[in-house]
Symmetry: C2
Subunit: 468 residues, 2 copies
């Protein structure tokens, strides 16, 4: 069995903690094993490890999430990177081509596709193992995991069985029903329908033949090269709806979609994450504060206060799902991002009447990691090293740097830094248009940068001279 975890979504429903660079699955709001906060992705990966499934798992995602996944799960996690977002069928096909042509799995290998962030008990992953066995034993085209409903939800999709086969752990699927009314949902539950939780099992050959029928390549590198020409079609539409013989395996345990603040806060063990006070007169109120600024909540029950450098949300829990529409038009650069090499946080962004902009950031580079050798065409930067030691490359010269050093990087200068110990920098960018896209990367490993540069003799003076 191979598992393909789909990681997507921009998650405006959990604004301001989620943004384009940090979807909801990366928010560290859940309680981990040893008292530490963990994200949904980290929780699922931990559960996969506990069930011995992590070694069989791949994560399929877009370019924008790779840094975040590696930052949270480590750089050894196998990630299949979609060159652009093109819906779930192309994403799953790309993963299947990798399993087929790179991992050279058998065409009879069972592939299980699941979202990267279900909030479930460990038993869910045992059920996934049964799902794979069921696919083989029943010879079905497709096997789905179906969650036994606990109430007539109008938000979920339902898997409707051929006949009400009450006690069987496996049912034959008649059809699907998306988001019914509450009355319809009650009727569906009487018919033993199950919630569709987005977990599908099929044999590798099923997708590989489909690609061949369409005249598409089955080799990973080739499919990757052609990715931008693949149809933007969902897996549901392309595979599930066309399948003849579908079965579903019942999962009776806990399952929840933590997509909105009201559902997410139900799973938080502590009502407060971060700096602040929730006064005792405030019942069932949650505070999630990623800022350094303390928050005090007084006399307000059943509310959520969520704060990040991107924004501050104050909402009653029932209204919280509406936040998505409210912030849909709020265009803002992300104020905090986790990257493969570390993290940064925007401290201040000034725009002056003469067109000058100044962006002040605090940047952390993990020990052993480096910022790529790069050039900006629209800005100068001043770096004050506030923590640690590193190697700084500037226009072909490498300087040792340490806490207290000030580095001026003129517009157009090639520069990069490697952290020897954990490095922190206050960066002041000055220019006419400060955008993340103003960056030309020189594709070199740090070893190549070291080989390319000469060593400096008088580090600070030379940097100062380089500026003048």
């Amino acid at each position: 069995m191979k598992l393909v975890l789909l990681s997507g979504g921009s998650g405006k429903r959990l604004w301001p903690l989620s943004n384009d660079a940090r979807s909801k699955q990366f928010l560290k709001v859940l309680q981990g094993e040893n008292g530490q906060q963990e994200s949904m992705v980290q929780r699922v990966w931990r559960q996969l490890k506990n069930e011995g499934l992590a070694d069989s798992a791949l994560i399929a995602t877009g370019k924008s999430q790779v840094d975040m996944i590696q930052s949270q799960l480590g750089t050894n996690v196998p990630v299949i990177i979609e060159p652009e977002r093109r819906d779930t069928f192309p994403a799953i096909a790309l993963a299947a081509s990798y399993i087929y042509s790179v991992e050279q799995a058998s065409l009879d290998e069972v592939i299980v596709v699941l979202p990267v962030d279900p909030f479930v008990e460990d038993e869910f992953f045992a059920a996934i193992k049964r799902l794979a066995e069921t696919l083989s034993s029943t010879n079905a085209d497709l096997a789905l995991l179906g969650v036994t409903p606990t109430y007539p939800s109008v938000k979920y999709g339902y898997i409707v069985p051929c006949a009400a086969e009450t006690d069987k752990p496996v049912i034959k699927v008649s059809h699907f029903r998306e988001k019914p009314s509450e009355v319809q949902a009650e009727e569906l539950i009487k018919q033993q329908a199950l919630w569709n939780c987005g977990v599908f099992a099929f044999k590798l050959k099923h997708i590989i033949s489909l690609l061949q029928e369409k005249g598409l390549p089955v080799k990973h590198a080739e499919l990757l090269a052609q990715y931008n020409s693949l149809p933007k079609i969902s897996f549901d539409y392309e595979v599930v709806e066309k399948a003849q013989n579908i079965v579903a395996v019942k999962y009776n345990g806990y399952w929840k979609d933590l997509g909105t603040w009201n559902t997410l806060t139900e799973e938080m063990h502590s009502p407060i994450i971060g700096k602040g006070i929730v006064c005792k007169d405030s019942i069932n109120t949650h505070l999630i504060n990623e800022l350094d600024i303390p928050i005090t909540v007084l006399g307000l029950s059943d509310i959520v206060v969520a704060a990040s450098p991107d924004g501050i949300l104050v909402t009653d829990k029932d209204s919280s799902p509406k936040v998505k529409e409210l912030v849909a038009n709020l265009e803002q650069r992300p104020m905090y991002e986790e990257r493969r090499w570390g993290w940064y946080r925007v401290l201040d962004h000034a725009k002056f009447a003469n067109g000058n902009e100044v962006l002040t950031k605090r940047i952390g580079v993990h020990a052993g990691k480096n910022l790529s050798y790069q050039v900006h065409s629209q800005r100068m930067e001043v770096w004050t090293i506030i923590k640690g030691e590193g190697e700084f490359a500037l226009d072909g010269v490498i300087y040792p740097v340490k806490t207290g050093d000030v580095l001026s990087i003129p517009n157009g200068a090639k520069h990069g830094v490697k952290a020897i110990t954990e490095l922190e920098i206050i960066e002041v960018q000055t220019g006419k248009q400060l955008i993340e896209e103003d960056i030309t990367r020189i594709y070199m490993t740090w070893t190549e940068v070291q080989a390319h540069c000469k060593e400096a003799k008088l580090p600070l003076e030379e940097i100062a001279a380089a500026k003048a």
Copy 2:
């Protein structure tokens, strides 16, 4: 007539906007004349000007508020500075000694003392003029302004008349009653009692004789020198309670103490100040946001959200007066201050395991103003000029500086800067203990600094060399 405006208070009840450096009277939350936000102090000063009283007014305050007063009212406002806080009698006596010995006013001059921040109509200041006339015409020891009560408040003090003299504009005072119960307040109102709004008129000789009786100096400079030995006694206790013949002048207009968020927000013309959205489903909700981070309020009526770099308060209006107790123990450096020369804002404060601290500030210096020539013993500073032009003095040398320049100031170096045009700086402080008190000022005007320093020839290089 001379007016003495008392400016005190640390104003924890309006946390997080008020702090030790910025009492409630300095918060710019009211609507000014031409659509601009104005503070309570600015509103009162504007009203005094309109009534032709500003030229007769002095402000008595502690050292910590002088910069704020000058920043909001201009540097020409006459301020009597208490060397330390010692209650209202010493403060008023100090102002009286100034009026007597420096301004050389007649002993028959009427002094009117009032708080710096009553929220009133202009008519209030006309009533103050009547108050002074009444004191002279009745020959009373003391004349008070009494506000006609509009409801049986349990929060205010009451001025009780000798007899219910219903229609007279001036009454003889029998006694005072502080914070009665509601039933008692109703009874007091029946007796024609008035609210005490803290406005007292007396003749200069009244206080001067009192000082002489106590063997205290009546010359301002001498009283100032002895200020730390003055008794910590209130004006109420020392003067009002001992006066034989007190009258009160009725004021029938609007008067309000804007001391808590629920009373203050009632006087805000707009429900939103600063960046943010209050969703339509939130009725009678106010948002005051001094941060650059947008705030969204959803589904919550009758609440106040107030945010500053010091903290964020989310409270229902009825509970808002409780904030004072909640934050009483919250010890924090002010994150934003207005000063005589401009303002600063703390962007980030990092403390590392090895004891190093890093404080990042954005500093604004008004054109023509300067930061005093000074030395720090526990920190180095890096300044990146992000706006404007100025003169920078470093260890006896003056350099012209402009946007984009980077200035390194080693520990122990004398330094100062004068803004030629409006100057802004990102400052990164690094050291073992970063406190505002680590500053030795070299008492020189900027002209003296210029005379003392030699001019630089190669500005940037020399600054760099000074660092190396």
